[in-house]
Structures are given as structure tokens and as C-alpha cells.
């Protein structure tokens, strides 16, 4: 079981390494969107500190959205998805591997970039730490929930727009608790409650999402 998940992750990471343009594009999108705000809003540190959690989290959601349509589309186009669906092992396990690989490729870079970008917003050290931690806990939920949407819109023309409409509303709880945690840290309140709820969302997202995703993929293959 673990070896199957490892095989899927290994294959997807190798494919991602051969197509680095996709990863780099999503990272630059994140960097640029976040950097535009201090330029547009003006350099008042108080205002920037207030804005920071929301801006960073919304940019992280949108950057994750960018890479979602390709999560299953390439495998669908070249017939690999049929092979995966016909594997003797449960399709949900394969999906779990793909979700983990997606997070490593699309989520983890955002987590690593966030503290650097947070400096632009004059965040203090502990707020930066909470920001990074909240993204580290929250981005797996984005990959998990996003996989359901990506599977549901597979093979649909104009699926990208539909995917955003489907998935972004489901991201709202993650956004609220993620940005809330950073906000609490900035204002000096404890971030622990927010982080715990975020952790619950992430666990739920990653471990329950593969089943509806697998069901949606089977429907898409019919």
C-alpha cells in the first residue's frame, strides 16, 4: 500500500521536474500578487500589517488554483488515468499519492516563500512563524479539496472556470482560519485555536477527499 503511494508520488514528482515551468509560474504568480499590494496600498506599516494575513492567504489560494486543472488532465489525455483506474489497488490510494505529490510541488514552495514575502508587510518574527506554520498546515487541505473539484471538472470544456467556481467557496473555511491565525498573532492573541481548527480541516481534507475524487474520476472515465 505504502509502496504504491510512493510509486505515484515518485512518478508525479519526476514529471513535475521535467516540466518546471508550471511550478515556477505558480510561484512567480504568488510572489507578484503579494508584492503588488504594498505598492498599491502605500507604505504605512500599520496598514500593511493588518492586510498581510488576508493578502498572503488569498494569493496562496489563487496560486494553488493555477496548478489544479492539470492534476488529472494530463493523465486523462494520454490514457494513464484508465490504467490507474484499472489497477488492482483502490483508486483512492492512487489519488492520495497524487494529492501528496501536488502538495509537494504546488503547496510546499508557497510555504517556503511566505516568510520572505511577509517581510514586505512588516510582520514581526512571531507573526512570520505563525504565517509559515498556518500555510504548512493549511495548504494540504487546499490540495485535498482541490482534487475533488479537479476530478469533477475533468474533461469538461472550460473546466478551469468551473473549477474555480466549485473549489474557491470550499476554500473559505481554510482561508478564514488560516488568515485568522496570522491575524491573532499580529494582534497579540493566541493563534493556537485557529491552527488547531486548520489542522482538523487539513486532516479531513487529505484523508476524506480521495474517496469522492476517485468516484468522480470513475464517472469521468465512463
Amino acid at each position: 500500500m505504502l509502496s504504491l503511494i510512493r510509486a505515484v508520488i515518485g512518478r508525479d514528482l519526476r514529471l513535475a521536474m521535467r516540466r518546471q515551468a508550471d511550478i515556477v509560474a505558480a510561484m512567480f504568480f504568488f510572489i507578484i500578487v503579494v508584492s503588488l499590494f504594498p505598492l498599491g496600498v502605500g507604505p504605512e506599516p500599520d496598514q500593511l500589517r493588518r492586510l498581510a494575513p488576508g493578502v498572503l492567504w488569498v494569493a496562496a489560494l489563487l496560486a494553488t488554483m493555477l496548478s489544479l486543472p492539470r492534476l488529472f488532465a494530463d493523465d486523462h489525455r494520454d490514457g494513464t488515468l484508465e490504467q490507474l483506474a484499472l489497477a488492482p489497488q483502490p483508486l483512492a490510494l492512487i489519488v492520495l499519492g497524487k494529492v501528496i505529490a501536488h502538495w509537494l510541488v504546488a503547496g510546499l514552495p508557497l510555504v517556503l516563500l511566505a516568510p520572505v514575502l511577509g517581510i514586505q508587510f512588516d510582520l514581526a518574527g512571531d507573526a512570520l512563524a505563525v504565517l509559515t506554520l498556518s500555510l504548512l498546515i493549511g495548504t494540504p487541505a487546499l490540495s485535498g479539496i482541490g482534487a475533488i473539484g479537479a476530478a469533477l471538472t475533468l474533461g469538461v470544456r472550460g473546466g478551469g472556470v468551473l473549477l474555480s467556481l466549485l473549489v474557491l467557496p470550499l476554500y473559505i473555511p481554510v482561508l478564514i482560519f488560516g488568515a485568522g491565525a496570522v491575524d491573532a498573532a499580529v494582534t497579540g492573541l493566541g493563534a493556537q485555536a485557529h491552527l488547531s481548527l486548520l489542522g482538523a480541516l487539513a486532516l479531513g481534507g487529505v484523508f476524506f477527499a480521495p474517496w469522492p475524487t476517485a468516484a468522480a474520476l470513475r464517472v469521468a472515465l465512463e
Binding site: 504504491l4 515518485g10 512518478r11 490514457g79 490504467q83 489497477a87 465512463e222
Partner: protein
């Protein structure tokens, strides 16, 4: 071996997809060893090798990587020597380190068919395996299917070409217009 024939749109591919359990049958039931495949899903799929219209080849990977990663995903790890031997047999040795997007259509098909060389599962379902292949490769695939039949395996394939399979008994089934008419309903 069962060779399915019929004009375009007569439902050959649909039938194969139903046999694999990818598409549910509108009516009736498909059984493996007397039991419906919908119930014994995983047990049936561990006996099934499907090769569809699409090659299931990753353009970014080399034929060698494709072969090895497909085998790993099927939980039947293939060592590099065995994979190279399979590629040599399908005539891709010397191209094994070239990304598949640089290969021709026929070479991609060969890369996909290399999977069959070490394939031990009992039921092969092949959708137009001879498409895009030259004469030598067509005979090679027919030889692989023949060897599979000799081992006691089963094969179902669709084709528009009459290709002699060296061993095993061959039954032919031609899907006619009535099936096509039913499909449209």
C-alpha cells in the same frame, strides 16, 4: 483469443471498455470465472491488462522510465535489465533515453506495447494494438499474443487487419449494424 471486427462506430471500443469495467453495461452482466466483475473488482483487475487507444505513455519520460514506472504502479516491479530487454525486443534500444515526445507515433505505440513483453496477467484486452505499427512490429505483437495464448492466457482485441497469430485458437466476432443501432438508443 477473440478478435473483434466491425466498421467504425460499431461499438468495438465500447465493448472492450465494458469488459474492463470502465463503462458500466446498460443491460446484462459481465462475469469473470462465473462471478460479476462489479463485485470482485480488485480480484478481476489483478488479472487484467488493458491497452487502450491512447498509449498511456508520458511524453516527458523516456521509454525506459515509462516502462519501469508503469510496472511500479502495477506493483510488479521490473528491473532495468528486464525493461531494456523488452525495449530491445520492440526495437527501441538506442532510443531508451530519449523523451517520448521526440518519438514517432509508431515508436510511441511500440513503447506502449513493450509492456506486454513481461506481462503475466491472464486476460489481455487490447484496443487496436496494430495501429501505427509497421509490418515487422505487427508480427512481433502477434507473436507476443501467440506466446501469451500458449501460456494459457486469454486475449480480446479489436482490429481492422487480418493478422495471423502463430499459436492458440482464434475466434472472430463481427459487430454488426444492429449493435450500432442499439448503441445509439
Amino acid at each position: 483469443m477473440l478478435a473483434l471486427q466491425g466498421r467504425n462506430g460499431s461499438g468495438k471500443t465500447s465493448l472492450l471498455r465494458m469488459l474492463c469495467g470502465l463503462t458500466p453495461a446498460a443491460s446484462g452482466e459481465i462475469r469473470w470465472c462465473g462471478r460479476p466483475i462489479a463485485q470482485i473488482g480488485e480480484e478481476f483487475r489483478s488479472e487484467l491488462c488493458f491497452l487502450g487507444h491512447q498509449n498511456a505513455i508520458k511524453e516527458e519520460l523516456t521509454p525506459l522510465e515509462n516502462l519501469v514506472s508503469t510496472a511500479r504502479l502495477a506493483q510488479e516491479p521490473l528491473d532495468e535489465d528486464a525493461a531494456l530487454a523488452a525495449l530491445e525486443l520492440v526495437g527501441l534500444l538506442g532510443r531508451e533515453d530519449l523523451a517520448c515526445r521526440y518519438l514517432s507515433q509508431g515508436q510511441k505505440r511500440r513503447a506502449a506495447l513493450a509492456r506486454l513483453v513481461h506481462e503475466k496477467r491472464a486476460l489481455w484486452v487490447l484496443d487496436e494494438p496494430y495501429v501505427a505499427l509497421d509490418k515487422a512490429a505487427t508480427e512481433l505483437v502477434a507473436g507476443l499474443v501467440g506466446a501469451h495464448l500458449q501460456r494459457g492466457g486469454l486475449a480480446v482485441l479489436t482490429t481492422h487487419q487480418a493478422v495471423a497469430v502463430p499459436a492458440g485458437s482464434v475466434r472472430e466476432l463481427t459487430l454488426g449494424d444492429d449493435v450500432a443501432a442499439q448503441q445509439r438508443l
